[in-house]
């Protein structure tokens, strides 16, 4: 499972945050999520995304946002350096 680096601001209500995901063109794609949906690691915020594919040579990754951005985008190219891989939680018996 994957997360992408994002900038975080206020949402439309206290439980919500606005995540801005930078793409490879320098644009920032805004979408609102519940605050608990974001992860914070070493002072940086990350948004869960789906990894659709990678271009290793260019170090680029095509990711799918958890839902449509404010500008109507579902998938965007990001720098692979902005991704972090996370391990799913193990099932508890």
């Amino acid at each position: 499972m994957w997360e992408v680096l994002c900038e975080v601001g206020a949402g439309l209500r206290p439980s919500e945050r606005t995540a801005a995901v930078p793409d490879v063109y320098g644009d920032r794609h805004h979408l609102r999520v519940e605050a608990g949906f974001l992860a914070e690691v070493d002072g940086k915020s990350y948004l869960p995304v789906g990894l659709i594919g990678v271009d290793e040579a260019k170090q680029l990754a095509l990711v799918e946002l958890p839902h449509e951005s404010d500008a109507g985008i579902n998938r965007l190219w990001v720098r692979m350096g902005n991704l972090r891989k996370i391990e799913p939680a193990k099932a508890v018996s």
């Binding site: 801005a20 519940e34 260019k58 449509e68």
Partner: protein
């Protein structure tokens, strides 16, 4: 394929669909044969018409940097419908469901949110064009404690009468459908594809 009430209930029990707080049992009025009603949460964001010399304000969602949050900070105000909020004819506002939804990719279940006929008949709709809740909605695989996201609603009144909304009102219904295959974003593997030409960093 649309899930029946019993199949939705079974999917919830198996953890394929997570709804928090969980719905009442199948004997409750929130169920219909192929849908489940969800309730309106208290906080609303009401869009207001621009005023003043710059009253002709044009929104450009083609700008990929467009932020609805920034727009709302200037052109919407917050309301609370715990004790009721009156939606006047022509009003457009954002609301949220009380229930939070989670659809793990591996469940291969997606959903659609639709309005309630009872509200539609008096002019109230709850989504504009995008009712689909994709497989994977509200899912954080590394955090089993995360229960999901509420559904954001686009509420409008095209009727001639003012309608009062109250927190807890059964505001929408959700239909669950099976997804054929696991969506690409749900795969744990990595596919090689060709990316765009962009300047390298540094």
């Amino acid at each position: 394929m649309i899930l029946s009430d019993r199949e939705i209930d079974a999917a919830i029990r198996r953890g394929q669909v997570r709804i928090t707080p969980p719905p009442d049992d199948l004997a409750s009025g929130v169920w219909s044969s192929t849908a489940l009603d969800l309730r309106l949460d208290a906080r609303l964001q009401v869009w207001k018409p621009p005023e003043g010399p710059a009253s002709r304000f044009v929104v450009d969602p083609c700008d990929v940097n467009f932020s609805a949050t920034e727009l709302a900070s200037a052109h919407a105000h917050e309301e609370d419908c715990t004790e009721g909020f009156e939606v006047e004819p022509g009003m457009f506002l954002l609301g949220w469901t009380i229930e939070k939804i989670q659809l793990p990719h591996a469940s291969r279940i997606a959903a659609r949110v639709e309005g309630k006929s009872s509200l539609a008949r008096i002019g109230i709709g709850v989504h504009v064009t995008a009712p689909t809740i994709h497989a994977g909605f509200g899912f954080r695989g590394q955090d089993p404690e995360f229960v999901g996201n509420p559904i954001q609603l686009e509420i409008w009144n095209v009727g001639p009468m003012t309608v009062r909304l109250v927190r807890g009102l059964r505001i929408c219904q959700v239909i669950f459908e099976e997804v054929s295959g696991v969506p690409g974003r749900g795969y744990d593997g990595v596919f090689a594809i060709q990316g765009p030409d962009v300047p390298p960093l540094g």
